[in-house]
C-alpha cells in the first residue's frame, strides 16, 4: 500500500462506474452540502436579488407592483422627515449604548479576573440577564420604569430626587431608559467575552509592572487596555451592528413613541412593511440601513490601526 495516500485502495470494486470512483470525494462533499446550498440559495441569495428588485417597485401586496425606479430611495432620503428622525434616534442609541456597554462589561471583567474566592458566583449573577429574552426583559422594565409606582423612581425619590422623570412617557427620557435596560441586559455577555480576552494577557507583565511600582490604575491603562484592544474592537463592531438593528424592545415598550422619540430604523421598516404594506419602500429602507452599517464597519476597520494592538 502506498504511503503517500493510504486512503485509496489499490483497485476499484467491480460494478461501480469508474467516474463515480474517481470523483467519490467531490460527490460525497456535494451530497453533504446539498441542504446548505439549497437553504442559502432559497433564503439568502434569491431574497437578496428580490430585495433589490422590490426596492424599485411600488407594491402593496394586493394590486400589481409598479416599477418606480429609484423613487423610493429619493423619497426616503430627501422627503421623509420620519426616516430622518428614526436615523437620529438610532444613532443616539448607538452613541449611548455602545460605549456604556463596553465600559460596564470591561469593568466587570477586570474585577472578576482577580483570583478571589466566589468569583464564579458573581459571574453567574452578572450573566443571568442575557439568558432571558429581550421581550420578557422589556415587560420587566416597563414595570420598573413606571413613573408613579416603578421601583427605579421610588429609589430615586428615596435618594432625594423630588421629581424623577416619567421615563417611557417622556420624549427626553425614553431613549436613556431603553439604553439603561439594554446595558443591564447585555453587559454580562460581553463580560464573558472580555474575560476570555483577559486570560490571554501574560501574568508576568503585571508582576513586572508591580515591581516597577505601577498602581492598579496605571497597570490597567498600560497593560490591560492595550492588550485587550483586539477584543474591544470586535465587541464594538458587533455592538454597533446589534444596536442598529434594535426592534424588540421598541415594539414591546413604546411602539416608537412618545412623539416618535424611540422610533428606530428597523421599527420604521417594520411599520412600512407590515402595518402599511409599502413593500418596495420598506425594502429600499432596508438597503439604506445596510449601506449605513456596512460603511460604518469599514470605517471602524480603517481606524483600528490607530488604536488596536496586535502582537
Amino acid at each position: 500500500m502506498s504511503v503517500a495516500n493510504p486512503v485509496a485502495p489499490t483497485a476499484p470494486p467491480a460494478k461501480t462506474p469508474s467516474w463515480i470512483y474517481r470523483h467519490e470525494e467531490a460527490l460525497t462533499a456535494w451530497v453533504l452540502l446539498l441542504p446548505a446550498v439549497l437553504s442559502a440559495v432559497a433564503f439568502v441569495a434569491f431574497p437578496v436579488i428580490m430585495a433589490i428588485w422590490l426596492s424599485l417597485q411600488s407594491w402593496d401586496l394586493l394590486t400589481p407592483a409598479r416599477f418606480v425606479g429609484l423613487q423610493n430611495y429619493v423619497d426616503i432620503l430627501f422627503h421623509d422627515p420620519h426616516f430622518r428622525q428614526a436615523v437620529g434616534n438610532t444613532v443616539y442609541f448607538v452613541v449611548g449604548q455602545v460605549p456604556l456597554t463596553v465600559a460596564v462589561s470591561m469593568l466587570l471583567a477586570v474585577l472578576l479576573n482577580q483570583k478571589l474566592k466566589g468569583v464564579s458566583w458573581f459571574r453567574t449573577a452578572f450573566y443571568t440577564p442575557i439568558v432571558t429574552s429581550t421581550v420578557s426583559v422589556a415587560m420587566v422594565w416597563m414595570w420598573l420604569l413606571n413613573g408613579d409606582f416603578g421601583l427605579i423612581n421610588w429609589a430615586l425619590r428615596f435618594l432625594g430626587v423630588a421629581h424623577p422623570p416619567n421615563w417611557l412617557a417622556d420624549p427626553v427620557w425614553s431613549k436613556p431608559a431603553l439604553i439603561l435596560m439594554s446595558v443591564w441586559h447585555s453587559a454580562g455577555y460581553f463580560m464573558v467575552i472580555f474575560l476570555a480576552g483577559l486570560q490571554t494577557i501574560p501574568e508576568n507583565l503585571y508582576e513586572a509592572a508591580e515591581v516597577d511600582g505601577a498602581g492598579p490604575w496605571k497597570r490597567f491603562w498600560a497593560i490591560t487596555f492595550p492588550l485587550l484592544s483586539s477584543t474591544t474592537f470586535l465587541v464594538i463592531v458587533l455592538l454597533v451592528m446589534d444596536v442598529f438593528n434594535i426592534f424588540d424592545q421598541v415594539y414591546m415598550m413604546t411602539k416608537g413613541g412618545p412623539n416618535g422619540s424611540t422610533e428606530t430604523i428597523v421599527y420604521y421598516i417594520y411599520s412600512h412593511g407590515f402595518e402599511w404594506f409599502h413593500m418596495g419602500y420598506a425594502c429600499a429602507m432596508a438597503w439604506i440601513l445596510f449601506v449605513i452599517v456596512f460603511v460604518l464597519t469599514l470605517i471602524q476597520f480603517r481606524l483600528q490601526k490607530r488604536w488596536v494592538h496586535y502582537e
Binding site: L54, T124, W143, F149, V192, I193, V211
Partner: protein, 293 residues
C-alpha cells in the same frame, strides 16, 4: 493579583503593609461586586415579588419585597388571559426541531468544507461566509413575500425551513472538525469505512463539545426569536413564547400582578435550565465567541 511578599529580599514591614493593603482592597472589591450583583438580580426578584401581590399591595409605597398575603390569583388570571403554557410548548417544539435540523445540516456542510477536497471548495466557503454580512432586515420582506407565495404563511414551515441551516454554525463546527487528527479517519478508511461512515462514527462523536455549543446557541436563539414569528404567524394558538408574551401584554395591559405572573412563567424555564447548567452554558457561549450573542 499577585501574592504579597513573593519578591524576596524585601523588608518584612513592607510586605506586611502590602498584605494589609491587599486585604483591604479585596474587601472593597467584594463589596463592589456584591452591590453590582444585587442590582443585577433585583429586576428578577421584583418581578417574582410583584407576581404574588394583590392588586392593592402592588402599588404600596414604600415598596415591599415580601408579598403579604401571597396572592396566587395573578397566575390564574394570567393563564386565563392567554394560553402561556401552550406558547411555551410551541417554543419548545420549534426550538427542538430547528436545533436538530441545524445540527444535522451544519455538521454535514462543515465536514465537506473542513475535511474533504473538491474543486471550488474555498470559493464556495467564502461565498457562504459572505452571506453572514446580509442582515436579517434585508431579507425580511422578500422572505415574507416568498412564504406568502408558497402558502406557508401562518404555518411552522415558514419558521422551520429558513432557519434549518446556519452559516455561523457551519463555520463553528468546521473550525472544530479541522483540529481533529486525520490519522483517525485514515485508519478507519483502510478498514473499509466509507467517508460518510467515518463522518458519522468518528468525527461526530469526537465533536460533542462543539455540537453542544451550537445546540445550546441555536436553542436559545430560537427560544428568544421575535421579529420573524411575529410577522409570519397569525393564529395566536401557534405563537411561540416571545410573540405570545406580546399578545398576552395586549390582553392584560396594565394589571401589573398578572403581567408579572405571565412574565415569570415565560422566564422561569430558561432561568432554571441556566442555573442547573450555568458553568457549561457560559463555557459554551465563550467557545462560540462573539457569534453567541
Amino acid at each position: 493579583m499577585s501574592e504579597a511578599g513573593v519578591v524576596t529580599g524585601r523588608p518584612e514591614s513592607r510586605s506586611l503593609g502590602r498584605l494589609r493593603r491587599a486585604t483591604a482592597g479585596s474587601l472593597l472589591l467584594y463589596a463592589a461586586l456584591l452591590v453590582g450583583a444585587i442590582l443585577t438580580l433585583t429586576p428578577f426578584l421584583w418581578t417574582l415579588s410583584t407576581s404574588l401581590k394583590t392588586p392593592q399591595t402592588v402599588f404600596s409605597i414604600p415598596p415591599t419585597f415580601i408579598p403579604r398575603p401571597v396572592y396566587w390569583q395573578n397566575y390564574t388570571d394570567a393563564l386565563n388571559a392567554a394560553p402561556l403554557f401552550r406558547f411555551l410548548w410551541n417554543s419548545a417544539f420549534l426550538a427542538t426541531t430547528i436545533t436538530v435540523l441545524r445540527l444535522a445540516t451544519c455538521s454535514m456542510a462543515a465536514y465537506a468544507f473542513g475535511r474533504l477536497r473538491f474543486p471550488g471548495r474555498d470559493t464556495l466557503f467564502l461565498l457562504f461566509l459572505g452571506t453572514m454580512m446580509i442582515p436579517e432586515h434585508v431579507t425580511l420582506i422578500p422572505n415574507f413575500v416568498l412564504m406568502k407565495f408558497l402558502h406557508f404563511y401562518n404555518t411552522y414551515k415558514a419558521l422551520i425551513l429558513p432557519s434549518a441551516f446556519s452559516v455561523f454554525g457551519t463555520f463553528l463546527l468546521r473550525q472544530y472538525f479541522m483540529t481533529l487528527p486525520y490519522e483517525l479517519e485514515e485508519a478507519a478508511r483502510i478498514d473499509g469505512c466509507s467517508r460518510i461512515g467515518s463522518f458519522v462514527r468518528i468525527i461526530l462523536p469526537l465533536s460533542k463539545p462543539a455540537l453542544a455549543t451550537l445546540g445550546v446557541l441555536t436553542f436559545k436563539g430560537i427560544w428568544n426569536w421575535f421579529l420573524w414569528p411575529l410577522v409570519m404567524l397569525n393564529d395566536y394558538k401557534a405563537f411561540p413564547i416571545q410573540v405570545g408574551l406580546a399578545f398576552f401584554q395586549g390582553q392584560v395591559t396594565v394589571r401589573w400582578g398578572p403581567l408579572m405572573a405571565g412574565t415569570t412563567l415565560a422566564m422561569l424555564p430558561v432561568l432554571i435550565v441556566f442555573f442547573l447548567g450555568q458553568k457549561h452554558f457560559i463555557q459554551s457561549m465563550a467557545l462560540a465567541g462573539l457569534g453567541g450573542r
